[in-house]
């Protein structure tokens, strides 16, 4: 092992995770279906009046996105933890954090991006104003990677625990709050025709911070869980 090449390793992990996911296309749709279902519960529970729905729509869409990304978190590490792939990753000469980042990118493409793509459907259901749609989608596109990165840290610590799903939610939901505040805040401001640059910039800053630091923390967490 005379040279440690990061980029090929990163791309190999990315390609592996993507092709694994594409071989089970049925599972790909599950987080999206969950996302749409949660949002469709609100008109039934609260009210079908379009004015009420429009008022709560930014929050509902964001909470639904947050829960959908939380519930799809498990598949990031669970399978690879159980079949020993993660142990091989930990033994690889490349830093584990880089491989975790590759897995995170693949995970976002599989679970985060579809949420962004179907969000117009939710906007339609919730009577969210059409002209604010680009801002809503931009916010989701910046916010969902943060949710994934924070979730990866929580998951890395709980992946060894039996029935760790609920525990994962307890650990990461408080950490999700800033994303929710600025995400829903930007969607709300956009719906009332206000500028959202500030909120989107903050979401972007959080994404940059989370994607640089969370893989390190998740790698440390995985090493502890693999012990």
């Amino acid at each position: 092992m005379d040279e440690i090449r990061l980029v090929p390793a990163f791309l190999a992990v990315l390609r592996r995770d993507l092709s694994l996911a594409l071989r089970a296309p049925g599972e790909l749709a599950n987080p999206v279906i969950f996302f749409v279902m949660i949002a469709s519960l609100f008109p039934l529970a609260v009210s079908a009046a379009s004015e009420t729905l429009r008022q709560i729509s930014p929050g509902v869409i964001w909470v639904a996105a947050l829960l959908a990304s939380l519930i799809s978190m498990e598949q990031l590490f669970r399978g690879d933890f159980e079949d020993g792939t993660l142990e091989q990753f930990a033994l690889a000469p490349q830093p584990l954090a880089v491989l975790v980042l590759a897995k995170l990118c693949a995970h976002w493409l599989i679970t985060g991006l579809p949420l962004v793509i179907v969000s117009p459907l939710l906007a339609l259901f919730m009577h969210y104003p059409w002209q604010a749609l680009p801002q809503l989608m931009a916010g989701l596109a910046l916010g969902t990677p943060v949710l994934g990165a924070l979730g990866a840290v929580g998951l890395s610590l709980t992946v060894g625990v039996r029935r760790g799903g609920l525990l994962l939610a307890l650990l990461v939901l408080p950490l999700y709050v800033p994303v929710l505040i600025f995400g829903a805040g930007s969607a709300d401001a956009a719906a009332s025709g206000l500028g959202v640059t500030g909120q989107l910039e903050l979401l972007g800053a959080m994404a940059a911070l989370a994607l640089t630091l969370a893989p390190l923390a998740a790698a440390a967490g995985l090493r502890i869980s693999l012990d």
Partner: protein, 247 residues
């Protein structure tokens, strides 16, 4: 200085040292509580706007300070345990968590009791209340993770990572909640210029804060001793301690 620190890293030495100091600090805490409560509840003047009910700040504000300080203390101990694999530091972090969680509950409950006469409601989604509630959730997550992993060293290391991640996140959570909504009065003591509080109210407040700190230190050391005995129950020094205690 460093030899002293290194010696504290040895469980039997720490156990004995904490056993000597915990009661002394406990007495100090009792004295400070007695003086602080008398000064705050009897001697301090009545507030011209809030009347007598402002006196709850002598419990509420120190509890809120402690809730944050204990989290940082816990995260620092956890990080020391994680980096240098110091068993005593791991035990200290674990012992601090329930105390911090209770300080947070105390701050929330007293704040709510104060909010009823002042704001006319038990609970508002105000920035500081919300971040205090989220802090409680962080504590509960830490405790839950610690309890979920059976192997004590692995539990300590995993929850240490969580505590450190939490410390990085606390300022982000705090400021995002701050910008989101605010009704709570701004900080009156921790300002860079002179405190915006009457000196006759400030002194009991500081006394109470010191009392809370001493109480925390005493109970923390005692809890750490208990944790240590349980974790090291198979080692020879614990068996010797047990033999001595039971005569």
């Amino acid at each position: 200085m460093w030899t002293w620190f290194h010696r504290l890293g040895s469980p039997p030495y720490f156990y004995e040292w904490a056993g000597r100091w915990a009661p002394r600090i406990g007495v100090l805490a009792a004295l400070l509580f007695a003086w602080g409560l008398y000064d705050g509840l009897v001697l301090a003047p009545t507030d011209y706007k809030q009347g007598e009910s402002y006196r709850i700040i002598f419990i509420h504000v120190p509890a809120a300070w402690m809730s944050m300080m204990v989290y940082v203390t816990m995260a620092v101990s956890a990080a020391i345990g994680l980096i240098w694999r110091m068993k005593v530091a791991e035990v200290m972090a674990r012992a601090a968590a329930p105390l911090g969680a209770w300080f947070t509950v105390l701050a929330l409950v007293t704040g709510s009791l104060w909010g009823k006469p002042m704001w006319g409601t038990w609970w508002v989604w105000d920035a500081r209340l919300t971040s205090e509630l989220l802090l409680l959730f962080l504590y509960l997550g830490y405790i839950a993770l610690n309890a979920a992993i059976e192997e004590p060293r692995q539990a300590a290391r995993a929850s240490a990572v969580l505590a450190v991640v939490g410390v990085v996140n606390i300022p982000i959570i705090h400021f995002s909640v701050e910008w989101w909504n605010t009704l709570h009065q701004g900080p009156t003591v921790t300002r860079l210029d002179a405190p915006a509080i009457n000196i006759a109210m400030f002194l009991p407040l500081i006394t109470m804060a010191l009392a809370f700190m001493a109480y925390f230190a005493a109970v923390w050391l005692m809890r750490a001793r208990g944790e240590l005995l349980e974790r090291e129950r198979r080692s020879r020094w614990v068996q010797r301690v047990v033999a001595e205690e039971s005569g």
